[in-house]
Amino acid sequence: MKTLSGTDLSVQIGALRLKNPLIAASGCFGYGVEYAEAVDLSTLGGVAVKGLFLKEREGHPPERIVETPSGMLNAIGLQGIGVHRFIREKLPELRQLRATVIVNICGSTLDEYVELARILSDAEGVAALELNISCPNIKEGGITFGCSLHGTFDVVSAVKKVTPLPVIPKLTPNVTDVASFARASEEAGADAVSLVNTFLAMAIDVETRRPKLSNIVGGLSGPAIRPIAVRMVYECRRAVKIPVIGMGGIASARDMLEFIIAGATAVQVGTANFVDPFIWGKLLAGVTDYVRRHNIARISDLVGTIDTTSREKQWISS
């Protein structure tokens, strides 16, 4: 899809063509419908809805979030309405709003992921599945898969077998070598990988000596983590051929471009949407302006174009 100026912002994720590389991150955009008043969902590359289990879940008791320097911790505990109510109550409205819906799914067992994938493949209006194998906040969530190469391989290949939809495992940053997880995903047939989920972290109220979150630990997101996330996207891009969807602290068009240049074919924005629900138009305008100024015909031409050569030269010369 071209903009007026002829700039092509569209990107390809497996069989799925997104009209632009800007996706609302899971868990930071409700079920999408909550934001219809702030942004025309059809203008987004995609909307990753809040992580869904098969069943409804209550999540953790408050406090569920706490602000930290340039970031926030969350331990929501994947409160959610479950896949069936989602299909019945939210999907029709999302279809009507012409959103490109990416469903983020979570299971306690491999079979649950498979079952979720089956159910959602039959539903109308689902564009892709993002496998949340990286939520740091609940023990029974996919983190046992996400922290094991075998687990990652197994869950991705099992889900691939039962769905024609693009499958995007979402990787945790809480590992020594994230690129190996991207590789395991690729080998298992993933259409793309997305990263990063949040960093396991905690905050303590020193007056009461209690953790600030009811769950004791939570996940760190927001600008604070951006430099780590950019590095991980860079590493994954060099490790795999499938597209990398990057996220972690994006709050401006400049940040979005940083991820794309590091190697992200598309990006997601989470925490920044809490601060500015009108951010989406600003991000797209900023990126459009950049590609125009730099005479880039297709945004996909920018992906992974980080230039490390001259630095290496300088390095050798010293």
């Binding site: 702030a38 408050p62 569920r64 970031g71 969350n74 809490f274 601060v275």
Partner: protein
Amino acid sequence: MLRDVEARVIRNTRLSRDYNVIALAAPEIAEATQPGQFVMVKSGRGGDPLLRRPFSVFEVLRSNNRVEGLTLLSKRVGVTTKILYDAVEGDTISCLGPLGRPFDLVDPPTEAWMVAGGVGLAPFATLGDALLAHGVKTTLFYGARTGGELFYLDWFTSRGIRLVLATEDGSIGDKARITIPLDRELQEADGEVVIYACGPEPMLEAVAHVAAKHKRTSQVSVERTMGCGMGGCYSCVIQVRSEAGSERTRPAHYVRSCIAGPVFKGEDLVWD
């Protein structure tokens, strides 16, 4: 309609060492706000502080029948409220709103009794005005630690709102929590009364119980930590027994207080 306004500070009045009323040039938001709704405020540049904070709309400012902006009644407890306290005319504060479910208004002859604890006074200026415009007889029960922290008393009395005051140190009104005079007066009231409350959660719980004891309905405005104010983050949840506006009861479950509230029926909430 939802708006994000880079609002200029029109003036900032410090009421005490902690409390201030800040006037913001956000007429579009002010105009659309219903009593009990709130705005999400972002002050300060950069990522620290990162998140917005929720504030009830205190007053809608009018001059010559045009809406000029709104005010916030703020109590200094941390980083954002400090910035609001220190702000000077000409600063800008980003203001997102209006947000949340407002209070349900009643009609005469039902009376309205508003119960405020501390900074919980904030929603009752606009609610009081709206009730008076409906011709509803209105009382404000207003409690604080000490008399020096009871503000805007003239504002309410000059409009014809009856005041019942209580302070913990007895410097003004009853030397008691505000629920004591509330209980006493409910004991004696015979007409229809709806109770509106805003303040610390233990106070809200007490108000809901007192109201229930006297077979009156209450609408309470709760304060939970809010990451977004728009239903996006699920940080602000509170346990309810039944869906707001529905008669169907369900087991206790979490709802987002930013969109299902901040105003709830007292009897719907599960106090923990």
